[in-house]
Amino acid sequence: MVSTSILAVSSHLSPGIVATAVGVPLQSGTTIVQLLVFALLLGGIYGLVALGLTMIFGVMDVINFAHGALMVLAMYIVWSLSSASGLTPLVFIPIAVVALFGVGILIHHFTIAPIMEAPQENQLIVTFGVMLILISSIEIAFSPNPRSYNIDLGSVGAAGVFIPEGQLYALVISITAVIGMWLFLQRTQLGRAIRGTADNRSGAKFVGINIKRIDYLTFGLGAALAGLAGAAIPLIQRFDPYIGDVYLINAFVIVVLGGLGSFPGALLGGMIIGFVQVFGQFYLPGSVYQVMIFMIFILVLLLRPEGLLGGKRT
């Protein structure tokens, strides 16, 4: 890869570092297994984060800039309830998801529904505005101080390979959500209506699907999924009002990689990014892995814009 060779020359690494960072023939088996575990766990989280975005993107063709802000809102809902009651945050995650569904319906009603037929850029600006409103409100209400859930999570380990419990819970939540959404979309009348709308909006209208209602439901579900992801993030790290940004761009990448509106695709896209990030961080200097991520993204966009698991292009 071009950029790495430039890097090797320009970053003044002493020979010792190059040897450890790049030139070692093979890492010990344990390390490789550990990295695989981390990649899987990180991929699960990324997949989870992308679910809500792919839902709204796939069905409504709206890029929801407020996705990260919705995640953050859910974090603070869980944190507040847990702090106030003294109960474990885990029991409040479903409450946050339901609350976010409601928030999503409201946002759709007041900002997206009126301009569904307008040019795409208008929806982008509106969701950007919503993001500013949400983040600044949270900032004022809760201060910029970092917070963490009042929950003591360690890790389970065997033979030198460790699995942090927080990451494990997040992965379980992610897989459950993917299966649940997949079943909902495949097996229920409403789910089929949503898929029909995603495939062909005008066609769906002809067969009697109430598109407007589907849009409300979609945005609500998308926000609820953002809430689920947001509520899970503090299981693995501290959070503050700004953490949504960290995940947002990756989520865009994952949605396109996996294919718009595809839940298994989101999980697969998340896994790909998780693997690139973990192995990239291990083998490449600095944040070069980010360069890899965007190159892969561009390649997939060009060669298979419908995404790896997407159907035909809309």
Binding site: E121, N122, V126, L132, S287, M295
Partner: protein, 368 residues
């Protein structure tokens, strides 16, 4: 259904409508706008009844307003005229900034030359993006996300290459290190006022370019592509070539703003000039003002930037200004999807001055 009281205003509106249909209308309005902009810094000092504009509006804020008006105008040529929605113009902005400051810092090359080098680089990068995306027929959101990826790519590449300044970027050198001293030639001044006129001159240039394009056959083709690309191709317009030209021109001019930014704010880093937010700030005035119009980006910037500034200055609790700003964005887009340039007509509609439905098309401001 004109009301009695509104009749004289209604007459004014009809006069205005007639005027807007004249071919000289847009250049005349632009002339008035630039006339105001030329004397605006002086107006800041004027005090009326103990109240002067300068207490609310600073020259620095006007400069930033003009920067975003300028970038929006540049962005508009590609995205407004041609309909290829770019969400990655920070790439071109950043290339302009880096081209300028890297050459002057490392090789003492005059920043004006650096600016042109940066602009050519940006145009080439734009062509690369265009060739790849158009060849593979990316449209809509896919195209927007691809442009964003190309911008983020540059950010991370530069961040990881020490020779390009890494994450620390560059600081502009003193004028005496590459020129006789501060002044136009050095692209460095000791006060803000000359910077204001430099960016105003940039805006005049890009606005002229945009106006000329819009009223040329080239512009006609661009708009045909925006309206229906397949139809345009069907009647023999070489859409690929025209889209590429629009991208290159837009990228070339956007880079100038990056160069200006670097010289005005002294320091650049990958996370300032390639920041995600820069992508938004570049396109926002055009959308708020009126996509695809020549006046829109300028009006839009003079709404968006001062609004956020006034909100920030008048609200004491930090953060509330962003809430107000966010609300205003939402409201503007919801209630004015065609932009500020459509306000006179909307006002007329609201007050019932339109004579007949056919009037609607007669003066669609968004086509000026």
């Amino acid at each position: 259904m004109s009301s009695e009281t509104g009749s004289s205003l209604s007459t004014v509106w009809h006069r205005y409508k007639q005027f807007r249909n004249e071919s000289y209308a847009t250049p005349l309005l632009l002339g008035i706008i630039f006339g105001i902009l030329i004397v605006l810094p002086a107006l800041l000092e004027v005090s009326i009844a103990g109240y002067s504009l300068g207490t609310r509006v600073s020259l620095g804020m006007l400069i930033v307003t003009l920067v975003w008006a300028y970038t929006a105008q540049s962005w508009n040529i590609m995205s407004g005229f041609t309909g290829q929605f770019s969400f990655g113009h920070a790439a071109f902005f950043g290339l302009g900034a880096y081209g300028t400051i890297l050459l002057v810092s490392n090789y003492s090359i005059n920043p004006w030359i650096g600016m042109l080098v940066g602009a050519v680089l940006a145009a080439l990068y734009g062509l690369l993006i265009g060739v790849l995306c158009f060849r593979y027929d990316l449209r809509g959101h896919y195209f927007a996300l691809a442009t964003l990826a190309f911008a983020e790519l540059l950010r991370f590449i530069i961040n990881n290459i020490g020779a390009l300044g890494g994450a620390s970027g560059f600081i502009k050198p003193l004028p005496r290190e590459y020129a006789d001293g501060p002044g136009l030639l050095a692209f460095q001044f000791s006060t803000d006022l000359p910077y204001y006129y430099v960016i105003l001159a940039f805006l005049l240039i890009v606005t002229t370019v945009a106006f000329v394009i819009r009223n040329s056959r080239f512009g006609l083709y661009l708009f045909a592509i925006r309206e229906d690309e397949n139809a345009a191709a069907a009647v023999g317009i070489p859409t690929f070539k025209y889209k590429l030209s629009a991208v290159a021109i837009s990228a070339f001019f956007t880079a100038w703003a990056g160069a200006f930014w670097a010289m005005y704010f002294d320091t650049i880093r990958p996370d300032t000039v390639f920041d995600l937010l820069i992508n938004v700030e570049i396109l926002l005035p055009a959308i708020v003002g009126g996509l695809g119009t020549v006046i829109g980006p300028i009006l839009g910037s003079f709404i968006v930037t001062p609004l956020s500034e006034i909100a920030r200055q008048s609200l004491d609790l930090p953060g509330t200004d962003r809430i107000v700003y966010g609300l205003l964005l939402v409201l503007i887009v919801l209630y004015s999807p065609k932009g500020v340039v459509s306000w006179p007509k909307r006002l007329a509609d609201l007050l019932g001055w339109q004579d007949s439905p056919t009037d609607e098309d007669a003066v669609d401001e968004t086509h000026n």
